[in-house]
């Protein structure tokens, strides 16, 4: 086992063990550090347990030492602040508190040392024997597995193709797109909402097109989010219209962590594309994106409006 992984495993076991202790017997933990158990302290201990367990499991399951050890250090600082507050409380046992603080300082020092070691390994590539520290080409390739989604629309392939090829139409059903401007016949400038309210822009170029059948594109040099994909249009069986298939390959902002967070928020690219295709179907079959009251009021986390077509 590579050194970075051994560090991660050991710290993961420590985090998980401590987390389990806090979660199972918060009163015991509080008595050890000399803080009488109050409901509030028990609640805080449980929260810390959740934090320890998630970091522990992250270290054990994910194997990318640097990020998770960094989270341990952040946790250590937080716990130090909590202890400092607790020391000032009138009902705590000063002696035990001092011991707890000393232990915490020791733990923090260990974590910092581990963090530096892990970073060193990551930066110098000294850990190549493991073949995977989260930054190798192989690891990124797994992350970048292209997303496939499809939808069947009750329109002729030529009509669906024509609507899509009119790239300025895309923001009417692609929720994250703010605008698409044409630069020339093949090149266009895209502007999209990024998580956190920011905007990102890139230039895209059509690399292949067969009218009524296929459009393929790739982002041009210098794009903030590299992406490449294709959409195909094919007559569906039984006169059901057109099967639209999208393949999107992209580099998620924030790397793996960003992709993981996005997935937790339901913003994974496969979900986004599924929603976008559903709205494309609504626009082509009914003329506009169907808005429910929940969408209009922004009440539901489950719904994603695109830009509605103006109604007079």
């Amino acid at each position: 086992m590579a050194k970075a992984q051994r560090i991660a495993m050991a710290l993961g076991a420590v985090s998980t063990g401590i987390g389990t202790w806090y979660a199972a017997t918060p009163r015991h933990f509080l008595s050890v550090i000399g803080a009488p158990a109050t409901e509030r302290r028990i609640a805080v201990t449980r929260l810390v347990a959740v934090q320890e367990l998630s970091v522990g499991l992250g270290l054990l399951a994910d194997g990318r030492a640097t990020r998770w050890v960094a989270m341990r250090v952040v946790g250590d600082v937080l716990h130090g602040a909590m202890l400092a507050l607790a020391v000032r409380a009138p009902d705590t046992d000063r002696g035990r508190m001092r011991l707890a603080l000393a232990a915490l300082i020791g733990i923090t020092a260990t974590d910092l040392a581990a963090l530096l070691a892990a970073r060193q390994i990551e930066r110098t590539g000294a850990d190549v024997e493991s073949g995977n520290d989260g930054t190798t080409p192989e690891a990124l390739a797994v992350e970048r597995a292209p997303v496939h989604r499809s939808v069947t629309i009750r329109r002729e392939p030529a009509e669906v193709y024509a609507f899509w090829r009119e790239l300025e139409n895309l923001p009417t059903f692609m929720k994250h797109l703010e605008s698409v401007e044409l630069i020339d016949e093949r090149r266009s400038r895209w502007r999209a909402k990024a998580p956190g309210g920011a905007s990102i822009e890139w230039e895209a170029e059509i690399t292949d097109e067969r009218p009524g059948e296929r459009i393929a594109w790739t982002s041009r040099e210098g794009a903030q989010v590299w992406n490449s994909g294709e959409v195909t249009f094919e007559r569906a069986a039984g006169d059901r219209g057109t099967q639209v298939r999208v393949r999107l390959d992209y580099e998620p902002p924030g790397g793996r962590l960003g992709a993981g967070v996005a997935r937790l928020l339901g913003e994974a690219p496969s979900n986004q594309i599924a929603g976008d295709l559903r709205r494309l179907k609504q626009v082509l079959e009914t003329g506009e994106v169907a808005i429910s009251d929940a969408v209009a009021e922004g009440r539901s986390r489950m719904q994603r409006p695109a830009q509605p077509i103006e109604i007079a």
Partner: protein, 403 residues
């Protein structure tokens, strides 16, 4: 405006909320003149349908007057008196084109949630959780009706509110229940549940020529209504006798030709299935209690049909697939494709062939909605169906409450 809103499990509230407006070009805004409380609203309020948020407006059985329309509406004008189908359907997709309106492909903006639970999504439904789109419901003074040309039907002058109201849900649902059971002249049909939908299923089966109609319930007043008003020839109180044995004897040892489940996920029984299903449901190990459906399957004759119109949400245990397979049974099910049945059933109402208003036992002001939920859910005061009328004077005090 005033509207009935979900607060939390078992709690509803008459709240003051903003009035709806036209959001899509096919929308109409309807001033509600009558709205009903449906048995499936109880599944929401009882907490068995996921995706309800505090403040969601409930209600999917309503009618009223069109007050505003979007610029894409062709068939309606302000002032029209309409009854509205509970599924929201675009009328343009493949499913709508096949008459499968309740599985419209375009009206559920949160389709991906339903896809996770059901495999594929269904249509949006008024006031029926964010799993079916998060559309505001009609137990309110005003409601927005998307795709109004498809879902709202003009009510002829000779038809009263009370006769027309149930065309939006339970009359077509009962009719489709009998139709899916393939009820033919001479059939023996058993209907589990003598609530509003079950009663209208019996009335529909009778119109289709069923010779014997057996109502199964535990409330005497509902069984009485089944006999006196809905056309049931026999009634079974399942707390008094064994349903399976009684049906077997009634049919000369053969079993009923058609079983119709008008009960759904909150079924009840007085045998061991009850604690089993109730505990599993409470522990979220299953979402649906299966007493009625299991019994409906086991009581059906070889080669018979089981039709399911009672609402189910997710998963059920101890499903008797062996009986279904070995005895050549057919199961048909579905949320009603209301738009398919509204016009022909309206004509039957106009001709006086059926008058669904016989099920109404309580007429209340919208202000009394909390009381309405209370008596309907808890089967108080011989309640079968509550109709709410916005604008009528209130007779009770509670505007928010546990029911």
């Amino acid at each position: 405006m005033k509207a009935t809103t979900y607060v939390s499990r078992n709690k509803v509230r008459l709240a003051e909320v903003p009035e709806p407006q036209v959001l899509n070009s096919g929308d109409a805004v309807v001033r509600v003149t009558s709205a009903a409380i449906c048995g499936s609203d109880l599944h929401l309020v009882d907490g068995y349908v996921p995706g309800m948020l505090n403040g969601d407006i409930i209600g999917h059985e309503f009618m009223g007057e069109v007050v505003e329309i979007g610029n894409g509406v062709r068939k309606l004008r302000a002032g029209d008196r309409v009854v509205v189908a509970f599924p929201i359907s675009c009328g343009r997709c493949w499913s709508c084109n096949q008459g499968l309106f309740s599985v419209c492909e375009n009206t559920n903006p949160s389709a991906w949630v339903a896809e996770k639970v059901w495999g594929f999504a269904t249509a949006g439904i008024f006031g029926y959780s964010h799993m079916t789109g998060g559309y505001a419901g009609g137990q309110a003074e005003y409601v927005r009706v998307p795709f109004a040309d498809v879902g709202a039907l003009k009510v002829p002058d000779g038809v009263s509110d009370e006769q027309a109201l149930f065309l939006g849900d339970i009359l077509p649902t009962g009719w489709m229940g009998a139709e899916m059971a393939d009820v033919r002249p001479g059939d023996v049909v058993a209907v589990w549940g003598a609530g509003p939908v079950g009663l209208l299923t019996m009335a529909s089966a009778r119109l289709m020529g069923a010779e014997r109609i057996i109502a199964i319930d535990r409330f005497d007043y509902r069984l009485r209504m089944a006999r006196e008003k809905a056309g049931a020839t026999d009634t079974i109180d399942y707390e008094q006798v064994s349903v399976h044995e009684t049906l077997r004897e009634l049919t000369g040892g053969r079993g009923v030709d058609k079983s119709i489940d008008a009960v759904g996920m909150e079924a009840h029984s007085d045998d061991l299935q009850w604690p089993y299903d109730r505990v599993k449901q409470a522990m979220r190990l299953q979402t649906d209690r299966g007493m009625a459906l299991r019994e409906a399957i086991l009581a059906c004759r070889n080669g018979g049909v089981i039709s399911v119109i009672g609402a189910y949400g997710g998963f059920m245990d101890k499903f008797p697939i062996g009986a279904v397979m070995n005895r050549s049974l057919t199961i048909r099910a579905g949320q009603c494709h209301v738009q398919r049945y509204m016009q022909p059933l309206m004509e039957k109402v106009e001709r006086g062939e059926i008058d669904p208003s016989f099920i109404i036992t309580h007429r209340l002001s919208l202000e009394d909605v909390v009381h309405g939920y209370d008596i309907f859910k808890n089967k108080l005061d011989d309640c079968v169906k509550v109709v709410l009328k916005p604008g009528e004077p209130a007779t009770t005090e509670r505007r928010i409450g546990l029911i």
